[in-house]
């Protein structure tokens, strides 16, 4: 897809989205807002998992870092929400840089294990530091813009989503993106051609973590209540399922996956909390039988229609 076509499609789509507050009731608008949050999460996770092949389980944790940094700064230090979100994003990015630096040398399964450990540690800290975080009760925080309006927050999340998608698109079409794919295809060959593999991975990890921080921070202010459910493994696996089912390593895959699974989970919510489990199983099956997800299937069955990136 050319740059021009990408921007045309992106702005047409967001133009249509701008009409949604006029036609949707508050509940449906909420579902769209949640979907947008997941688009931000899945698209940025795709940047590392889909384009550099590093499966991190700390993406929800980084969203948590963004949300709690911003939340605590606004509540305890009286910072404005905007500054809070910026600080949260930065904190997640810098933490990502640190975690990346420490565990990306190992790669593969070790990366997955260390990120899993990191996210558990973070959850335990947040749950136990009751004085600061209010534990599982959750911390009440101010909205992005007061007085609270769902429509206004819809636009803020839409802007965050656009920003995330543009950043991801620009990266994967830049020289860095070329290095990402080289590393994913054959690490040894990439090294022999001068690619500094560790730097490429750490950079990808840091950018992806910052974007997760941004998503978590904005989402927190939308909910006005942040709980350890944001940096939870539940949320992590939900994001993973969306990216995998939509199509890892394709640009549109995580977007489609996020909307599909958020809306679907609203319908089957009535049947209890098993939906994450069901999605996890579907994602596993997809990873086994259709590793390129919905996008891959679309490419297979409609080769002529130009469904590519």
């Amino acid at each position: 897809m050319s740059y021009k076509r990408f921007y045309v499609i992106l702005f047409l789509a967001s133009g249509l989205f701008c009409l949604l507050p006029l036609v949707l009731d508050l509940y449906r608008l909420h579902v769209v807002i949640v979907s947008l949050f997941y688009v931000m999460m899945a698209a940025s996770w795709n940047l590392i998992a889909g384009y550099t092949g590093q499966v991190s389980f700390a993406h929800a944790a980084f969203a948590g870092i963004g949300a709690y940094t911003s939340g605590i700064l606004t509540v305890k230090a009286g910072m404005t929400s905007w500054l809070g979100v910026a600080t949260g994003t930065l904190t997640a990015g810098v933490t990502g840089l640190g975690v990346g630096f420490l565990c990306l040398r190992m790669g593969g399964i070790y990366l997955s294990l260390t990120t899993l450990g990191f996210s558990e540690i973070l959850r335990i800290i947040i749950t136990n530091e009751y004085d600061i975080t209010r534990g599982t009760m959750g911390l009440q925080i101010p909205p992005m813009i007061a007085p609270y309006s769902k429509a206004v927050h819809f636009f803020i999340l839409l802007a965050g989503t656009l920003l995330t998608l543009i950043v991801v698109y620009k990266i994967i079409h830049s020289n860095m993106g070329l290095n990402f794919r080289a590393v994913q295809n054959d690490e040894r060959a990439a090294r022999s051609l001068g690619v500094n593999v560790i730097r490429v991975r750490v950079l990808a990890f840091a950018v992806s973590s910052a974007l997760a921080g941004l998503a978590g921070a904005i989402y927190g202010h939308y909910l006005m209540l942040i709980t350890p459910e944001i940096p939870s493994l539940d949320l992590q696996f939900f994001v993973l399922s969306m990216a995998v089912i939509g199509g890892l390593g394709s640009f549109a895959g995580p977007i489609i996956g996020s909307f599909a699974l958020t809306i679907l989970s609203e319908y089957i919510r009535a049947y209890g909390e098993y939906h994450v489990l069901v999605f996890g199983l579907v994602a596993l099956a997809m990873a086994r039988f259709a590793p390129q997800g919905i996008m891959g299937l679309a490419r297979q069955f409609m080769p002529a229609s130009g469904v590519r990136q």
């Binding site: 020289n175 794919r181 060959a189 090294r191 022999s192 051609l193 001068g194 690619v195």
Partner: protein, 236 residues
């Protein structure tokens, strides 16, 4: 230009390389021959930083590079091809070569696509630029391997059996290409090859390895006449 001092590489108890010393003069094609398992690829790997030699030193342009990471060694000016080709399967040929271009020590001012395309044309893959690398046949993959190495702008090029599987016409083309690299580009070439005719008629010097040790070194004529070499190849 490149100097190895008593290079040794042990895998577990076995010394795949023991106490190998050599010096490559600038601007020559130097052949590296020896029976299967002699340690030729291991020597390349030790020079290119794929692993650290157990002992010994590698000196390139007067500076020690022993144990540096592969990517840094590449940016110092040493490029290598792999005996078993390792293309980036899911990427186009142009992108394959582009990776080498964008990571050069001396960054290009022109768009990487131009430089990558030039190199592809040079090795005869101009028409395959937009083809995914996994669709290439073996010979084309070898050429792609060569194009990627060249696109890093090396001063020393290490080729690991680039003629294997080629017919005699293709061998002729490849040999011409390698000569051109020396004569027109001024590259130094270190070249592992089992196709004896080609390497004996092209290289100016030959180093012979056998069972991890350097058996001898000399001009192709000297090597061809040496009893130890004949013995190593023919066995007992």
């Amino acid at each position: 230009m490149l100097e190895g001092k008593e290079l040794t590489k042990r895998f577990g108890g076995i010394a795949a390389l023991s106490q190998v010393s050599f010096a490559l003069p600038e601007g020559l094609i130097v052949g590296l021959i020896g029976p299967n398992g002699a340690g030729k690829t291991t020597l390349f790997n030790s020079i290119a930083g794929a692993f650290k030699p157990s002992s010994g030193q590698v000196i390139f342009k007067g500076k020690e590079i022993t144990g540096l990471s592969t990517d840094r060694i590449c940016r110092r000016g040493i490029a290598r091809t792999f005996q078993v080709t390792r293309p980036f399967d899911e990427m186009t040929c142009l992108e394959n070569v582009g990776v080498a271009v964008i990571n050069r020590a001396r960054p290009v001012s022109s768009p990487w696509r131009d430089a990558a395309y030039e190199t592809l044309r040079f090795v005869g893959l101009g028409n395959q630029a937009d083809l995914e690398a996994k669709r290439l046949n073996l010979i084309e993959k070898k050429r792609l391997e060569m194009a990627r190495a060249l696109a890093t702008e090396p001063s020393l090029l290490m080729l690991d059996e680039v003629l294997g599987g080629l017919n005699s016409r293709e061998i002729g083309e490849a040999v011409d290409l390698i000569r051109k690299l020396r004569d027109e580009w001024g590259l130094t070439v270190f070249w592992i090859e089992h196709v004896m005719g080609a390497i004996m008629s092209t290289a100016q010097r030959i180093i012979v390895l056998d069972q991890g040790k350097k058996l001898m070194e000399g001009t192709p004529e000297e090597v061809a006449e040496d009893r130890r070499v004949i013995h190593a190849y023919l066995g007992e």
